[in-house]
Every structure is written in C-alpha cells, then in structure tokens.
Amino acid sequence: MYSEKLMDHFTNPRNVGDIPDADGVGEEGNPTCGDVMKISIKVQDGRIVDAKFRTFGCGAAIGVSSMVTEMVKGKTLEEALSITKEAVAEALDGLPPQKMHCSNLGADALKKAIEDYRNRQGAK
C-alpha cells in the first residue's frame, strides 16, 4: 500500500514537535474529516533554518509531514513556497491515489506557516 520510503518516514518520523519560539506556525485540516498537520518554522535571513511538525492522521499524513519538514530546511521562503503536493508525494516514492488529496497537507500547512511568518513581520 505505502512505499518503503513513506513507511520509513512514518515509523521514524523526523522533526516531530513544536518550536517554542517559532517565527511562523501553520495548521491545515480538520480532525472530524481526516488529517490535521501543524508545522512550525524558524526563519533566519530569509531562510528556513528549522521546521517541526505535529500531525493527527494516518500513516500517509505522518509520512508527508516528516518529509515536508526535511525538504524545507535550508530553503529560502520563495523556494519553500514552490514545494508542491506532487513534489512531496514524489519525494516519498508516491502516495496511494485516495491519499493524494486528503493526507497530502504538508505543502499547504507549510504555506500557512510562511504566511504567518510574513504577517508577523508585517506587524512589526
């Protein structure tokens, strides 16, 4: 059902947790319907230097979250915003079709975290 790579990220998820002094936090999904992902980022000089996640959801949702936080580290905000759902799925060697939309929320949660960061910067 799931690729070996996804199972690896599900069984040994990277970057689980919260960043206490995060510069941006984004959440996507609804637990009454399916999966929820919460991503926190730390930004320095326009680059994401740390990312952590918490996820409520299935194996795919947890694997996607882990992969997104890995992909995003060291990227500029622009580069991070260009990460698509498809790119995340590809990095995991694919997702089952029915999981493609409902569990693939990592890129969306990341976008929201970056928006949150920018809003906070604008407010300063």
């Binding site: 599900f10 069984t11 918490r54 996820t55 409520f56 949702a61 029915q98």
Partner: protein, 398 residues
C-alpha cells in the same frame, strides 16, 4: 503474527480443507449430471446443506447456497421486498447493518420503496419499541443484524422476531458475524430469513447461505438454471459448499466452550487496554456482545496509523476510521451510536479467534499502549481536542 481480525476473515480449519480436497480434484462432477460422477457431487451438496441447516436449526430444504454473506444479504433484502411488493412497499433496516443490507435498501428506495433506517442507542442497540412504532400497514420486511462485526453488540433479535410475527412482517437477520460464536437457532430467533458466510466460521471464501423459512416467497437475484430449487442459478461451487458444510459441523460442536474461552481472553484484553491507556472508550455493548470482540475508540490519534504500527509489531487488527476506509468515510455504525467523528477516527477493533492464546493477549496489552503513546507524541491533540468543532459535512480537499 498475532491475528486479531477474525471479523475480517479466518483461516481454513485443516479438517475443512481435507473435506474439500476430493472435490477440487477427482470429484469434479456437475450435480446436475445424471451419471455417477455428477451424482457424487449432488450427494456432497445435499450433505453440506444438511450440515449448514443443522448449525442453525433449520430444515435442509430451507438453505440456499450463495457465493458470500453479502449475496445472501442482497438476496434477502431485495428478493423478499420485491416478492412482497403487492402487499406493501415499506421496509425497516437498522443503522447497524452491513453495507450489503444498507445498499440494497437504498436501491429499493430509488425504486419506490419507503425505507426506515432505524436509529440505535449509544451501545448500538436497536430499541424494539421504536421498531414496533415504525411498522406501518405498508411494512413488508424488517432487517436487523444479529451481532455487529464492528462493535460486537448483540441485537434483541428474539424480541424483534416476536414483533415481526405479531404484525405479519418478514424478518431477516444477518448472522454472518455471530454464527459459530453465538447459538443461532432460526426458530428461537423467529426469523423468516438469515444470512451466513462460511469464512467467518473457518470455512472457505466464496461460500455463503441464505436460510429461507419454508413457504416464504423470494425473487431471485440470479436467473438461469434451476439450481437451488430455481432460487439461485449457476453451477454450484461444490468444493466451497462442502467446506462450508464441514465448517458448520465443526462450528456447532463445542460452541459454548469455545465462546467461553474467547470471552475470557477478550475480558483480559479489555481490562488490560482500559488499564494501560488513558482517554480510551470501549465501544459497543459492554455485556451483550460477541464473545471474542473488543472494540475501542482511542482519543487524539487515528486508526490507520495505529493499525500500521501494530502491524509492524506483528499485531493484526481492524479500524473503522475514515482514513483506513477506501471511501475515506468514518464508520456509519460508529457515527450512528453518537460517537463524534473525531473520536471515530481513533477506532480500533480486535476480534479474537480460536487460534489466539493468553500469550497473544498479554503481548497485545504490552505493545498497544506503546503504539498509542508514540502516536500521541506526534499528535497536536495530545493535550485535548482544544477548539475542535464538529462539522456537519466534510468537503474533500483538492
């Protein structure tokens, strides 16, 4: 491997395979053929019919073999309603039913029947009083499951049988999950029709049966030859039917002892899970339930993730969560019991069987809390649901 998914399917018992083997090999005759080879198959078919009838206290001629429990359910709901069309066009099914009862009922609705989907209480139990009130002059059929494979609850089938009889309404029960675990007697239950599936009691896949009380009219699902007294066309699957017969005979023998052992193992599992894990709900009826059935909802985490982590430890179980279903919808049975959709996401079902030993239960009690702890470390809700609001509809995220 610790297999706790006996509601999904079961392995063949070795005696069943032995009984089937000749009919997979040299005894390949068609029971319709007049020569000896065919007549041997015919004899095996009728012997299996007798064995299945004996399991449920029926007469052999009241057994119609089908290819599955789902086919038996479809045939009962659709076939009995269609045969009674002249009398009335209302049927009652409970919200605990399997898709193979619910979907034919929905199909009948499209074809002009009125269908009452009867609500259940928090234990998943049908209220016979409410059922009686739902009966109208138009009601021709009631279908209520004997015991739920999802939450284990045993429905008050005897009482519903009496109500159905009093009002002259046909009554079908789906006994797929209960046969082999509970005594199933068609007279005691007061049913006009009852569904069985062989692989649920250690028989082969591809064999099911519908009990149909003598003199009850039914419209077939499959038209063709005159097999099964013209009620189900198609050359009989003799090896599977022979296997079903043998499995039925074995299921009947020592049932009480087997159920007692399963209930003891189940009670140990339930006690261990409730003790070892916080924020966990035992779903279904605490007493009136299948002996080997333990179902839970674990808060703040999701069922499919639990299944995968348990499977990595060699523990095989089931879940009714949205994410673990192909349709990506939470189990309608759990929702109909008033369980919130986020709690239903944490559904997990352990269904025990004769191959489980105390050691398996102790292993599960040790490992399951560790899985829950790990997933809660990942979950954003470990400290509670916070402001999560129940939404009426879930829109697919594209």
């Amino acid at each position: 491997m610790r297999y706790f998914d006996h509601m999904a399917t079961n392995p063949l018992r070795p005696e069943v395979l032995d009984a089937m083997m000749p009919y997979l090999k040299e005894e390949f005759g068609n029971p319709m053929s007049l020569y000896a080879l065919g007549q041997k198959s015919k004899k095996a078919l009728e012997e299996a019919r007798g064995q299945v009838a004996a399991l449920i206290g029926a007469k052999p001629q009241e057994i119609i073999f089908t290819a599955s429990g789902a086919e038996a359910n479809n045939m009962a709901v659709r076939g009995l309603a269609m045969a009674s069309k002249a009398k009335g066009s209302h049927i009652i099914v409970s919200k605990m039913e399997h898709h193979s009862v619910l979907n034919p009922a929905r199909m009948l609705e499209k074809e002009g029947f009125a269908v009452t989907f009867l609500p259940v209480d928090k234990y998943g139990m049908v209220d016979p009083g409410a059922l009686e009130k739902a009966i109208t002059k138009e009601t021709v059929l009631i279908s209520v499951v004997h015991a739920s494979p999802e939450v284990g609850t045993i429905e008050p089938v005897e009482e519903i049988g009496r109500i159905a009889k009093k009002h002259g309404v046909l009554f079908h029960t789906d006994a797929v999950a209960s046969a082999g675990y509970l005594p199933v007697d068609v007279e005691a239950l007061g049913v006009s029709a009852l569904s069985l599936s062989a692989h649920e009691f250690y028989g082969p896949k591809g064999a099911g049966a519908l009990y149909l009380k003598g003199g009850t009219r039914i419209v077939p699902l499959i038209y063709g030859g005159i097999q099964e007294s013209g009620r189900r066309a198609g050359t009989e699957n003799i090896p599977a039917i022979v296997g079903m017969g043998k499995a039925a005979e074995l299921a009947k023998a020592g049932l009480a002892e087997r159920a007692g052992k399963l209930a003891r193992l189940r009670d140990r599992l339930v006690a261990g899970v409730l003790e070892g894990i916080g924020h966990v709900y035992y779903t279904g009826h605490p007493e009136h339930r299948l002996p080997g059935h333990a179902s839970f909802c674990v808060e703040f985490i999701e069922g499919e993730a639990m299944l995968l982590m348990l499977a990595a430890k060699g523990i095989y179980a089931a879940s009714g969560s949205a994410c673990s279903s192909k349709a990506l919808k939470a189990s309608p049975v759990l929702l109909s019991m008033g369980i919130s959709s986020q709690l239903a996401q944490g559904s997990i079902v352990f269904s025990l069987g004769t191959d489980n030993a105390e050691d398996d239960i102790e292993y599960a009690i040790r490992e399951f809390p560790a899985v829950v702890k790990r997933l809660r470390e990942i979950s954003p809700y470990a400290g509670g649901w916070g402001g999560v609001k129940e939404t009426g509809t879930c829109i697919p995220k594209n």
